[in-house]
């Protein structure tokens, strides 16, 4: 794409509205206190993993309830290589990805031939196994007591005195996963994945090697989820098996894409951003003593959203967004004259 072409795209509402959103996302933390920044960082990392989950689960319709295994593997790989061998976390991300790919191949080979519900149950089992394994091999993993990471600020450790940098790295991660999703959505691979979701046998008969496609998508999704785990631990700095392989977190990876819109590009982000920070915001505003009420309200909101938007927020509001965006003007005077001829193309 040439520079003038990009400039022209940016002048249209479909270009400058997303650009505006990204700009706001970049400037937002500068105006916030550090406890609000904290909420923002954790939300964006969550959105990145939810988007990674969607690339497999949302596109193929295989509900992996075990994606926290890859998140936890990334987090533990970074922790152990950093604390035991002093390897800078930024270099450990790739190792975590490779280990997650290996784990995904093992889990995938064993479970991907199962039908929907059974696949979900089997992946759930993988979370429990991971938790127990990391608790049991105490001498290597620190066991249930957990590990506190040494805080050494720097670009290679991905640790910063100013949280804004953690936030920007998280945003970069999220944008990267979104870019990969967009790339795949427009290609043969993406078409096949969506076709598998709709009817796997019919897709086979159209020449698609569905077993191989599923395992590839699973591995890619696992590798991307692992990055989220590595970023999470360089920010939170404390890990134990029940935190790294938290079953609830694994459910959120499924829930947020479901709420936002399965198999859509922006769905997982929309779902995460709307739902995930609710509890943190409540306790920020009302204090920790209202936690039980907060949890109930959170649960209630979940139920209401699923009832109101059974097909996901993005699919429901997509047309409204497009109509709204169509009413916005194109920026720049010369553009108005060009527009009709462009639309004919």
């Amino acid at each position: 794409m040439s520079l003038t072409e990009s400039a022209r795209k940016l002048r249209r509402p479909s270009g400058y509205v997303p650009a505006l959103v990204v700009t706001i996302a970049i400037l937002l933390p500068l105006a916030l206190t550090s406890s609000w920044q904290n909420i923002l960082i954790l939300t964006v990392i969550m959105a990145g993993v939810a988007t990674s989950w969607n690339l497999f689960g949302g596109y193929t319709g295989y509900f992996s309830l075990g994606h926290v295994v890859f998140f936890g593997l990334g987090a533990y790989t970074t922790t152990l290589l950093y604390t035991t061998y002093g390897i800078p976390p930024v270099a450990t991300i790739v190792v975590g990805m490779l280990l997650s790919v290996l784990a995904s191949l093992l889990i995938g080979k064993a479970t991907l031939s199962l039908d929907g519900h059974y696949f979900a149950l089997a992946t759930l089992g993988s979370v429990i196994i991971a938790q127990e394994l990391f608790a049991y091999f105490e001498e290597y993993t620190g066991g249930p007591a957990g590990i506190q990471l040494a805080f050494e600020p720097g670009v290679t450790t991905l640790m910063f005195r100013n949280r804004v940098f953690n936030y920007y790295i998280a945003v970069g991660y999220l944008l990267g996963v979104l870019a990969i999703t967009l790339y795949i959505d427009n290609r043969k691979f993406g078409y096949y994945l969506k076709a598998i979701r709709e009817d796997e046998d019919a897709t086979k008969m159209l020449g698609a090697d569905t077993d191989q496609l599923k395992i590839r998508a699973f591995a890619l999704s696992a590798a991307l989820s692992s990055i989220g785990g590595s970023l999470w631990i360089t920010y939170t700095l404390f890990i134990d098996p029940s935190l790294a392989f938290d079953l609830f977190r694994s459910l959120y990876f499924v829930l947020y894409p479901l709420i936002g819109g399965l198999g859509t590009i922006m769905g997982p982000v929309v779902g995460t951003v709307l739902i995930d920070p609710i509890r943190a915001i409540f306790s920020q505003v009302f204090g920790g003593s209202v936690a039980p009420i907060t949890n109930m309200i959170y649960g209630l909101i979940l139920m209401v959203v699923v009832l109101v938007f059974p097909e996901g927020i993005v699919k429901r509001l997509r047309n409204t967004y497009r109509q709204w965006i169509d009413r916005l003007p194109t920026l720049g005077a010369d553009e108005g004259a060009n527009r009709p001829s462009e639309e004919q193309q």
Partner: protein
Amino acid sequence: MTNGKTVLSVDGLTKRFGGLVAVDDISFELYENELMGLIGPNGAGKTTLFDLITGFHPPTAGTVQLNGEQLVGRQPHEICRLGLTRTFQIPRPLADLTVRENVAVGAFNQTDDRTEAEAIAGEILDLVSFDFEYESQAEDLPIAGKKKLEVAKALATGPEVLLLDEVLAGLNTAEVEEFLDVIEELRADVTVIMIEHNLDAIMALADRVLVMEQGGKLALDDPEAVQQDPAVIEAYIGSE
């Protein structure tokens, strides 16, 4: 008709489900550009025969060869890539995708490029005179649209042999007429086996008709001969 080159060769194909013999020792040759009708009462094993040929079920015995390549033991997608695919009796649209995307998924069997796949999809939809919006959701189509989409998807894979499973069922007279024209167009390029309950249609279209009963082959001949075969009249037409 003059017998062309043999494209598909089925030999002794048998499928037992427990004690039931669903397909019983079926053998036939399919010739290039032929249209073979496949008829028989419900439960005769017609669809199971398709399942065996396309790799959905492993046969208990027998072989299937496409241009000399053994199909038994291969996966459906491998068989499709070799040039044989099918439609399903109950249409199986990729519901959440558009019509064009549905057909493009088939066309990806011929190309890795999306623009090209969507272009092929457009051509195929034109070819089958698809009369609904190409950008509409597949699940919103009426039954006639879903039936045609089923054929378009399969055609988009670029098959040499196409197995059609009751594509006319559930269509009204006008829709059947139109569909028959489409099939007439297709036969210049593909070799077809067509399961059909509409006997008038099949007798008018087919070069030869294979009659199945209780899993076995009752007759295989040209339409006139089949219609006069006493065994066929007795077992199939007479019993309906």
